[in-house]
Every structure is written in C-alpha cells, then in structure tokens.
C-alpha cells in the first residue's frame, strides 16, 4: 500500500449523520413535554374533581390565579418581580464570592498535599451539614441582616467548589503531564498549560453543582428574618396556610434554579467544548 493510499484510510471521523427523520431529533423533547403535560392534567383533575383537598394541593388553575394576583398587587405590598430580583441578587452575590474564593483555594489544595491535609477535616465535616442547622449560630454571629443570608448561601456553594476544584486538579492524567514534560514544559508551565486547562471541564461541572446547592440554601438563608425574597415568600405564606402561594413560590424557585443551570451548561459548551471527549 502506498503512503497516500494509507493516509486516505485515515480520514477525519465524519460528523454523525442524521440519516433518520427530524422526528428522531425531536423524539425525546416531545416525550418530556408529554410527560409534564400529563402530570399537569392529572394534578388539575385532582383539584377539580376533589380527589385531594385543595388546601393541601391547590390545582394549577388556582396557582395561576394566585400568580395573576401577585403579579398585579404584589406579595405583602412588594411586587413579585422585586421578590424575585432580591433573591436572585442575594444568590448571585454569594455565588460570585464562592467561585472567586473557592476555585483558587481548591486549586491550591489540589496542588499542595500539605494544604489539603490541613484544610480537609474542616471542609469534609462542614460540607454535608444541613445549612439550616447553622441558622441559630449564624444569627448570633451575623445578626439578621443581609450578611447572615449571604453567609448561608456562600458557605454551601463555597465548600462544594473547593472540593470540586481540588479534585479537578488531582484528576490530571500522568500521561498528559509526561507528554508536556518531554516537550520541555517547566513546573509553572505544567500548571498553567496542562493542569489548569485539563481541570476546566471538571471545574465547570463542580461550579454547576455548587450553584445548584447554593440555590437550595436560599430558603434556609431567607428563613433568617427576611421580609422579601422568594424563599421568604414561601415560608411566610406557609404560616398562613397559603399553600397556593407556597407552590407558586416553589415553582418559581425551581424554574430559576433550572435557568441558572441552563446558562452554565451553555457557557460550558462554549468555553470548554472538549468536555467528555478524549484525545
């Protein structure tokens, strides 16, 4: 076989061709939509046909009506969008701080076994602790202002990011490091040109997870003497048995968390396109 014939055999892998119809591409999203619709229908029927007490589980129609009320007259005299904005602002501030401090610390822990040994006991103990358990302490330390709320969201995201960043560094393959060494990379270059880029996919995944965890701490944070925010709205409405407002708040909280994650997935696809692909 000649060289050119041999090379001809090693063509680029073709893009997976969608030989099947458009239907295949839309099959799974359609099933998902169908499942959700079915769920909503059953839920609505449970209310309309009184299978379940509307107090315990308000049907979607009632929640929509409540949404309308809240949109026009707000909740406790504060517009709904304002509650949403306040919660989002609280969360985003804490996320940014958690990423800015957690990633460097995690990277350092991954690089330095000494540092890791020193910090690990605390990180591993605090991480699985339900943040709600910290509330009484947090009130005593930070009072009932925004500081307490910031801290609760921050600490849950921060710990998760530290662990993920350290793991991302530790996970670099020896083969890649060795390849770089035989190409003349010094220690610093090994870090900036191999370890760091190699860690990016896992870093991103860790940030995604951590933001999800931080968002779920929002309710714990807004239990600390808040009088605005989606989490506060859910808790306060609960004390008046306004289960319709509670469910609406939960739906809004869920959708927002879903949105954050969606944004991060898009960013990951854009900035770290090699995630999950081997080389």
């Amino acid at each position: 076989m000649t060289l050119s014939q041999g090379l001809a055999n090693t063509q680029a892998r073709p893009e997976p061709v969608r030989v099947d119809h458009r239907w295949r591409r839309w099959k799974h999203p359609t099933i998902s939509c169908g499942a959700v619709t079915l769920f909503l229908v059953i839920w609505q029927l449970s209310g309309s046909l009184h299978w379940v007490d509307a107090l315990l589980l308000p049907p979607p129609s009632e929640i929509l009506a409540t949404a309308g009320e809240l949109l026009s007259s707000g909740y406790r005299q504060t517009p709904l969008w304002e509650h949403f904005a306040i919660s989002t602002a609280r969360a985003l501030t804490a996320f940014v701080a958690a990423i800015a401090s957690g990633v460097p610390i995690g990277l350092c822990m991954g690089l330095s076994p000494t540092l890791a040994a020193g910090l690990n006991p605390f990180v591993q103990f605090l991480r699985p602790l339900p943040k709600i358990a910290l509330i009484p302490l947090v009130i005593v330390w930070f009072g009932i202002g925004e500081g307490a709320k910031f801290f609760l969201i921050f600490i849950s995201s921060f710990l998760s990011i530290v662990v993920g960043s350290a793991a991302a560094v530790l996970g670099v393959s020896q083969a890649r490091l060795r390849a770089a060494q035989t190409l003349g990379a010094n220690r610093r270059q090994l870090f900036t040109h191999v370890v760091l880029p190699n860690a990016l996919p896992e870093l991103f995944t860790s940030v995604r997870l951590s933001i999800g965890i931080g968002w779920t701490s929002l309710i714990a944070a807004e239990m600390v003497a808040a009088n605005s925010g989606l989490g506060w709205m859910v808790i306060n409405a609960g004390s008046y048995l306004r289960t319709d407002v509670v469910l609406l708040g939960i739906v809004l909280l869920g959708l927002t968390g879903y949105f954050f994650d969606w944004v991060l997935v898009r960013l990951q696809r854009r900035w770290v396109p090699w995630t999950g692909k081997d080389a």
Partner: protein, 268 residues
C-alpha cells in the same frame, strides 16, 4: 554513521516494588546495557512485561534506575527534557488545543516567537498530511490522525532522540502500515536518533537499522541483530527477499523462547 554513542545505558538495574508493603516486587531490568549511535533507528523487541517501556521511561527521565547510568552525549539523564522527545501508544494530545497548537506546544513552551516556529509547523503538518486539519480539535480526528499529530508534535522541536513506545499498537493493521511508511519517510529527511519499542517483528524489520531483543523478566538484552536491507525499503520487496525470512525466523525463535519462559514462570 558515527560510532560515538549518543545514548547509552550502562549496566542498569531496576526493581519495582510489589503492590503492598512486604509483598515481593520484581526485578524488571537486570544489567541492561545498550548504546545508540547518531542517526540510528533501533528497535527494542520483546513480549509484554519484559521491561521495554521501563527503558524508555528511564531514558525519558520519568524514573531513576536503582543501579547503572543513563547518558545522553556523555551527560547523565536525570529529568525529562525537550531534547528527548516521546511518542506514546495513546496520542495523548491536549484536547483543549487545536492540532496546530498541539504541534507547536514544544516551541511555545520554549518561548520561541511565532515567526520562528510557524514555518516549521506548516512543514511538519504537511509531512504528516494534516495541513487541512490544522484548526481541528483532537476529538474531531480519527485515531490514526491523532497519532500523526502526536508524531509531528514530538518531532517539531527537533529532539536529539525520539523515544517511541509502541506508537502504532492501538491502530488497525492497515493504518499501522501507513504510519510505518510515514515514519520512515520523515526519518529519512531528519535522520533523528530513534529508539522504537514494539512487539511486532515485521514492524521492527521494516523500520530498524538494528533490532535488540529483550529477554523475559528479569529484562536484559538477549540478542542484537543488524537489519541489512537498503533504504528506502518497500514492504512488498522485503517480503519477497529470502534474507528477510531468515532474519524473521531467527528473531521469532528467540522471541518465542522468551515468551515460553515468561509463561512458565507465571504458571510456576
């Protein structure tokens, strides 16, 4: 060919510890000595576990021997460096870099300016046939193409010696043949000293000036054979040459003996 050794191993011993403390390790290399002259293409042949990769790792500077010395141009080797390039069995490209950026990794780490290395990069990309894929990313390439990029990457910094650890072992037979031809073609223009590890006898006979056959554990160089065929070599002609058959027969005999020994030692 100059007779001064560019690369030399002198009486190298290497032992790997067992998996747990107290369990017996094994003597991987026992009194291994070899030397490569400038521009030589030498194949290291042997079955799995005989220590061929260990020799490469020692030469690359990843490990240190228990006894003996490793020399490059008379100077001891103690750490990895760009003068000893390496191609692994897995391409080990950097997935976050394009093909071009992967290939130019060495000069970029050395701080060279783009004007200096871009011309060389283009040349090598053309040599390995990837000039149209320079902006592609590794996951968009087939296994053979990735290995070609890895070859270009290791070769571009013009290393003193290229260490190749069964680089075509993961490819299918046809691609492997194409890669062997590609390798010799490039080598004939650069005449880099190459130490090539393989377990494929035909591959060794096609590529090498000299073949070193390793014994089973503990590893040592058991036999050394010159490969007399003139270059450029054509696989079709080689196969028809009676001397090829004799040489291959001789090598197979030794290899099979060693293989049987290692099997027996395992069974025992």
């Amino acid at each position: 060919m100059s007779s001064v050794a560019r690369i030399a191993l002198n009486h190298v011993f290497m032992r790997f510890d067992g998996p747990t403390v107290g369990s017996p390790g094994n003597q991987v290399l026992s009194d291994v000595s070899l030397a490569l002259a400038d521009g030589e293409f030498v194949c290291l042949l042997g079955s799995s576990g005989c220590g061929k990769s260990t020799i490469l790792n020692l030469l690359a500077g990843f490990d240190k021997p228990d006894q003996g010395e490793l020399l490059l141009d008379g100077r001891p080797i103690d750490a990895p460096g760009p003068e000893r390039g390496m191609v692994f069995q897995q391409p080990t490209l950097f997935p976050w870099l394009s093909v071009r950026d992967n290939v130019t990794f060495g000069p970029r780490m050395a701080g060279q300016s783009a004007e200096r290395y871009q011309a060389d990069a283009d040349r090598f990309l053309r040599l390995v046939g990837l000039q149209d894929f320079a902006s592609h990313f590794p996951w968009q390439l087939s296994g053979g193409m990735r290995q070609r990029a890895a070859l270009a990457r290791a070769w571009l910094p013009n290393p003193e010696i290229l260490l190749m650890d069964e680089p075509f072992g993961a490819l299918d037979a046809q691609t492997r043949l194409a890669m062997q031809e590609l390798l010799t073609r490039i080598w004939q223009t650069t005449r880099t000293t190459i130490l090539f590890v393989t377990h494929d006898v035909d591959e060794a006979l096609f590529l090498a000036d000299r073949v070193l056959i390793m014994s089973a554990s503990p590893g040592r160089i058991r036999e050394e054979l010159q490969v007399p065929f003139e270059r450029p070599r054509s696989l079709e002609d080689l196969v028809a040459d009676p001397a090829y058959g004799q040489l291959k027969r001789r090598i197979l005999h030794v290899v099979r003996e060693e293989a049987a020994k290692s099997l027996n030692s395992v069974a025992a």
